[in-house]
Symmetry: D3
Subunit: 201 residues, 6 copies
Amino acid sequence: MSTTKTISRYPIPDVESLPLDLQSEIMEVQEKAGFIPNVFLALAHRPKELSAFLQYHVALMEGNSGLTPAEKEMIVVATSGINNCQYCVIAHGAILRIRSKNPLLSDQLAINFRKADISDKQMAMLEFAAKVCEKSSDISDQDLQQLRGHGFNDEEIWDIASIASFFALSNRMANFTGMRPNDDFYTMGRQIVTTQEMTKK
Amino acid sequence: MSTTKTISRYPIPDVESLPLDLQSEIMEVQEKAGFIPNVFLALAHRPKELSAFLQYHVALMEGNSGLTPAEKEMIVVATSGINNCQYCVIAHGAILRIRSKNPLLSDQLAINFRKADISDKQMAMLEFAAKVCEKSSDISDQDLQQLRGHGFNDEEIWDIASIASFFALSNRMANFTGMRPNDDFYTMGRQIVTTQEMTKK
Amino acid sequence: MSTTKTISRYPIPDVESLPLDLQSEIMEVQEKAGFIPNVFLALAHRPKELSAFLQYHVALMEGNSGLTPAEKEMIVVATSGINNCQYCVIAHGAILRIRSKNPLLSDQLAINFRKADISDKQMAMLEFAAKVCEKSSDISDQDLQQLRGHGFNDEEIWDIASIASFFALSNRMANFTGMRPNDDFYTMGRQIVTTQEMTKK
Amino acid sequence: MSTTKTISRYPIPDVESLPLDLQSEIMEVQEKAGFIPNVFLALAHRPKELSAFLQYHVALMEGNSGLTPAEKEMIVVATSGINNCQYCVIAHGAILRIRSKNPLLSDQLAINFRKADISDKQMAMLEFAAKVCEKSSDISDQDLQQLRGHGFNDEEIWDIASIASFFALSNRMANFTGMRPNDDFYTMGRQIVTTQEMTKK
Amino acid sequence: MSTTKTISRYPIPDVESLPLDLQSEIMEVQEKAGFIPNVFLALAHRPKELSAFLQYHVALMEGNSGLTPAEKEMIVVATSGINNCQYCVIAHGAILRIRSKNPLLSDQLAINFRKADISDKQMAMLEFAAKVCEKSSDISDQDLQQLRGHGFNDEEIWDIASIASFFALSNRMANFTGMRPNDDFYTMGRQIVTTQEMTKK
Amino acid sequence: MSTTKTISRYPIPDVESLPLDLQSEIMEVQEKAGFIPNVFLALAHRPKELSAFLQYHVALMEGNSGLTPAEKEMIVVATSGINNCQYCVIAHGAILRIRSKNPLLSDQLAINFRKADISDKQMAMLEFAAKVCEKSSDISDQDLQQLRGHGFNDEEIWDIASIASFFALSNRMANFTGMRPNDDFYTMGRQIVTTQEMTKK
């Protein structure tokens, strides 16, 4: 199916034509995932921008943080749902299912994070991420104070805001290019069998 | 997992305590689906309302129509996405995957129907359904004229409007009761293997 | 005036062509009101849908409830005002004037329920109805808790939500069909003389 | 009823304490209407502001214009409906019923002007008034061109914009002061008998 | 630059053709400012309306008040920013810089008053002005109570609401006429040197 | 004045403590501008993120493009105005004044780009940038087709979208950190004398 659908409104360069460091980053992710996520191919239309994009992404998503990797992805899925971004909801929804080992969470967050199976602290995290996403000009000291009241330290608060801000960029570029998620993402981590096993515990 | 989560803010009656016609409707769907969708249990708190709800649902979703059963479910999933209704997106998303034999369509429609893999005619159908959902007071003769221009007849236009209107009710009751979708819905119709076979054709 | 205006974008069936139970329901209301409210005629284009619609309406509006009949109509008028639904504001505005014996209340509620002559408890009821109407995805346990604090029990809270949800459907069908209120509704229950007598007390 | 309700959040001065020109203006309207509309009393808290308010009102509503007096009131009622202003909808609704000799029009316009019994030209007038009311920063030369296409000249276009702008002020002051419409306004011009006579013609 | 740009969509009358009292008001402001602000010329298309406009403006902006002249202009700049009104932000931004002797404040308020260098009391004043500007139908006794808690008396609260209401009119007329601010306003009161001197104190 | 105001909610690191490449980038801009723009200091709280941020900024704002440097800044100022971002409007407003040699343009764009002194082609550019900023999920092929109709090629369209997307991130980080613009930016490029000379030509 995806073989006949274009993955971007813009032409996709051959990976071999890209700068070597981008080539090796793409190889690496391909090896890990078994396929090249379309965001790499769509944004490779502008190698310098892709390079900065990936550097930013690594700094935010792979750096040390008080937030777990799953919590970071929760921010991505919830705010991308608010922005109606097909690519980011589908692709990061898959990653979140894997990182959280919870096959239900991504769909819940994408539809309405306020009804998702998460802790009160995580709900406060997503309420703030939603404010960064939708109405950052209203952010006040009180918002930070509230997050501290839920047990977040200031570095974790920066992480929440910074991830929500980065995906404000990412969602817009995906929506603009008409970026198409790889079919594989739709089913990754749904782990049907495992789910039933989990409920037995 | 779902075994420990409540499925409604209100108490769930024993099926045996319900009027006989409701009991048999519930048995029937249970036989077909293999489980009782939680909407039956949650709304059974008010048997008379459930009875009218189901009668309306049958009239709209199972009557003869120029719309295919899959197209009717597309309206449900797209407008329930706009209304951020967890239950209806997850449950009807499952039904749509089965009826459309397309494992990707429901997620696409729930996130942003304007980027989904559908025909121009179906897009016009969903644009109108979205207007019924969000701003019905602005509906004008021009809207109907536009749909006729896409090949819809007036009975089909009524179907679109009527389904979108009914789920305006349904989404609100699900959001109000905090209705929880059965876990089974998340994975139904994702047909992972079949998908890859389809892409080979 | 109304004799020259169509009452729906769709054709109106002869009452005699309708199923017998619908015919007798229509006769009954005609006898009571002195005329057939246009909603019966407009929705009779689809007898099965009308039948479910009326069954639902009866279950909600005529069942036993902690809410008074006037309070139920207040919910209808206030949320129909939010949805800019000409038919429901005019028709239910008339019913509310009669049920509340207050000739001013309907116009106040339709324009801005927050400025209407109602009790604090009724204001809380309408604030919640407005949330069901406009942003049901944000409903939380706190909303119910707040209503309990105003003295509503859980069955009354269901009534508020269920009526607001049903008229979410009803308003959309009226807006879609371009349903025209009978002229009679505009003046019913305005009881000009009585008003002045009341102010003397 | 109104005798027990305050008509403003602010104290109401004795008419005799007001400057003479305001006193005579108030006398004049009282003679014509049979009562003093509460807007005079509520805004008299600030005589200089009331004086400018009335001077502006006269310039707009009583000057020569290509718009009929009824059309001017249509602008007031429709935009006051958008602004949810109880006082202006009720009071100017009464005036409009009288000036248009149409007992239905005011309620229709207040609820949803797009469904009112008006001409296409009047609809264009109200669409523009609504834009002045809601999103004046988007007004462009095209808007004026469109109105000219409907047969409005530039002075009439100014009248539409100027009336909508003035009631942007008026609605806000009424909402701020909690201005209460006189009970009399609710029923003025409903002309129940006349209506039925009219429909016979 | 401004010499080639029209200052209104409507023709500008010769000042000499205007009623004498308007002429002298215009002369006076020209003498004080060194130029005629374009609002006088653009609105002079309708001398009676301009006359009422100026009378209202004087009553609000030059009357005695517990608000300082600078605070009044803060209300104008902040609400005109919300209404995206080029003329009022630029012209009153200049006046505010002069009255507040603060060259930074106007730009801050026009972009986002919530991030401006103002006191908590002034912030409460602007939050209320913004509510009058954007959602006056939601104003409640609580809003006034809150302002009293910040030390405003009821006359000052009226001033805030009344100024915000008047500029609701003013912004709409400026947006409608395409009113162009005089170039002079852009730089008035920026007092570059003085700023650096102030920071030394 | 700015000496007593904090420039971020987060601590500012010593420039000497930063990685060498960041130090030299900061030195370079300090030399050119005469001061260090606060964005460098505020974001330096996270050197890796700042590094990616600057790399992205250079790729977008300093690369070859069919858009002029002034047009790129126009996108920044207009979308930052929509996002109510004090830092970006003030700082990039200064840069735009310098690059466009037009002392009026920045204020116009920040308040309401639709009323600014720009060409029709530039207006189309900003309309699209505003859509990327506010509602990217609605972008369709038609939007790109429209821009091509105004003479933009596909690389220029990418530039518009990419700059608007990057400042979606930037505005959110500035709003989150409470980033304060340097006082210098307010007056840079206002070139009062030059303006009058320009109007003589």
